[in-house]
């Protein structure tokens, strides 16, 4: 699962019929130290997250394994907000 931070959103009027009503956010991947990696993805926001928040993204076919997206052609959805990362006995600062 990809760790990322919401850095923006995209607006599209002419798009796949099924995308109507979907919020499309831009997420930049983070490594486990909380610093940016050079990978960006447009993800559908199913749970309502805000900008700059740290989230977890499901990519690929699993992105269609939800009631809301099972018939929609998309491969990236935001599935969780991550408050804390704890490893090697310390907490990674995600602010």
């Amino acid at each position: 699962m990809m760790l990322g931070r919401v850095i923006g959103n995209v607006v599209s009027v002419i798009k796949d019929e099924n995308y109507k009503g979907l919020k499309l956010l831009v997420v930049q991947e983070l490594d486990m130290e909380g610093s940016f990696k050079d990978k960006f993805v447009i993800s559908a926001d199913l749970i309502g997250v805000g900008i700059h928040e740290v989230v977890m993204v499901a990519n690929g076919t699993p992105a269609r394994a939800t009631q809301e997206t099972k018939n929609i052609g998309l491969d990236s959805i935001i599935v969780a907000k991550i408050e804390k990362l704890i490893f090697e006995g310390r907490e990674v600062d995600l602010q």
Binding site: M1, I47, P62, V79, I82, E83, L85, F87
Partner: protein, 94 residues
């Protein structure tokens, strides 16, 4: 499936309904022959409740969605087995 070590955990109290009650762990890939950490870290869904420090096998992509009782879970990386020991090329199992 890939071989990894559970090196950390996360706190998330705002998740998609189908992920409710599931742990999100931090795992790091391990070279199964040398047993050394490879530095490649990622988040993984943990339906087994594995503790930190354990060695596991994990599924990626579509197969990762089948690691749960629910039929629709949006997970692209899931821990599916705790590895007790491995025997590579006749050496002593770890």
């Amino acid at each position: 499936m890939f071989y990894a070590k559970v090196i950390g955990k996360t706190y998330s109290n705002f998740k998609h309904p189908s992920l409710e009650g599931l742990d999100i762990k931090i795992i790091e890939d391990v070279n199964i022959v040398t047993g050394k950490l490879t530095g490649k870290k990622t988040l993984a869904m943990d339906p087994l409740g594995v503790s930190i420090g354990e060695y596991v096998a994990y599924e990626v992509s579509t197969e990762a969605t089948w690691a749960f009782d629910l039929d629709m879970v949006p997970a692209d990386t899931s821990i599916t087995a705790i590895i007790d020991s491995r025997d590579i090329g006749g050496e002593d199992p770890v």
